[in-house]
């Protein structure tokens, strides 16, 4: 099934079209979510939520952008929303007993050892992941989409609903801020 046909079938509620969407895009959604939340369990939850949302709202998809761009957009929003909730949960941690939520998704504590990172880069990548948690959300999203998903600045602009210049500026600021955070980290390590 090609993309226009897939969209039509999805809008008609065809279960096999939905299965095809999941099979083709699960890696895209999961890896984007993993890059942002940096926790495999949370990324898995978000992946499920993204596909459910896509299934429920595909009727409103007008086909103005690529299906993958639309999925990226849903994933980024879901992942950022998830992080906000996790931060809120951390603030009201004493209520965990009542809500039944665990600390698994704590965005400040977990360090992701991404399974796809080359062995010789593992240590530096973990440090970069820690640094990524300390820069603003939009910079982190742009950096993650570019570095981990290999998206071009033009595609990132479309996913984030920004101009190309805005994305270039975001990437430059992301690099500057990451350098600052990493510098502090390595200087502390040297002393």
């Amino acid at each position: 099934m090609n993309q226009p046909e897939l969209i039509i079938q999805l809008q008609q509620g065809n279960p096999s079209a939905f299965r095809q969407l999941v099979d083709e895009c699960e890696s895209l959604v999961y890896n984007t979510a993993l890059g942002i939340v940096q926790n495999p369990q949370d990324a898995d939850d978000i992946t499920q939520e993204v596909f459910i949302q896509a299934y429920q709202s595909v009727s409103s998809f007008k086909g103005e952008s690529k299906l993958s761009t639309w999925l990226y957009r849903i994933t980024v929003n879901r992942a950022l929303d998830h992080e906000k909730k996790a931060r809120r949960r951390k603030k009201f941690g004493f209520l965990h007993f009542f809500t039944g939520h665990s600390e698994a998704g704590n965005p400040e504590q977990a360090v992701l050892e991404h399974p796809g990172v080359l062995l010789e880069n593992k240590e530096r990548a973990s440090e970069l992941m820690l640094a990524l948690k300390k820069i603003p959300d939009n910079q982190r999203v742009a950096f993650t989409l570019h570095k981990m998903e290999g998206q071009s600045y033009r595609d990132i602009a479309e996913i984030m609903g920004l101009s190309l210049q805005a994305v270039e500026s975001l990437m430059a600021r992301a690099r500057t801020n990451l350098k600052k955070v990493l510098k502090d980290f390595y200087e502390k390590e040297n002393h």
Partner: protein, 114 residues
């Protein structure tokens, strides 16, 4: 190589550490899990209410509320006791008085009731 140069090198290495990375694989049976979640989301209002009400946290909160209300009632009763005891004392008939009254009414030896 001095510390500064070493730090710069580490920073560059960290920034480029994601180059050439492979994609991570999601856990298997994603489709099955999505379907299960969709089924859960479509359960009826009653099912959802029952699941919520039987959630251990809410059960504990409910029990605490019941115990708390009971404790309040008991404490209120305790603090009201002295007054009620006094009132009870006031309304209790003195047994001697009762006896004298009975004697006054039915004592046949008492010929002069006044």
């Amino acid at each position: 190589m001095d510390n500064r140069e070493q730090t710069e090198k580490k920073i560059e290495a960290a920034l480029n550490s994601l180059d050439g990375m492979h994609k991570a694989e999601p856990a298997p049976f994603l489709m099955t899990r999505i379907q299960a979640r969709m089924n859960r989301a479509s359960e009826s209002g009653w099912e959802r209410t029952i699941r919520l009400v039987t959630h251990p946290a809410y059960v504990i909160i409910g029990l605490c509320l019941i115990v708390g209300v009971n404790a309040l009632v008991v404490l209120n009763n305790d603090s009201a006791t002295p007054e009620s005891a006094y009132a009870a004392e006031q309304t209790t008939v003195n047994p001697d008085e009762m006896v004298s009254k009975v004697a006054t009414l039915y004592d046949i030896e008492n010929t002069d009731p006044q």
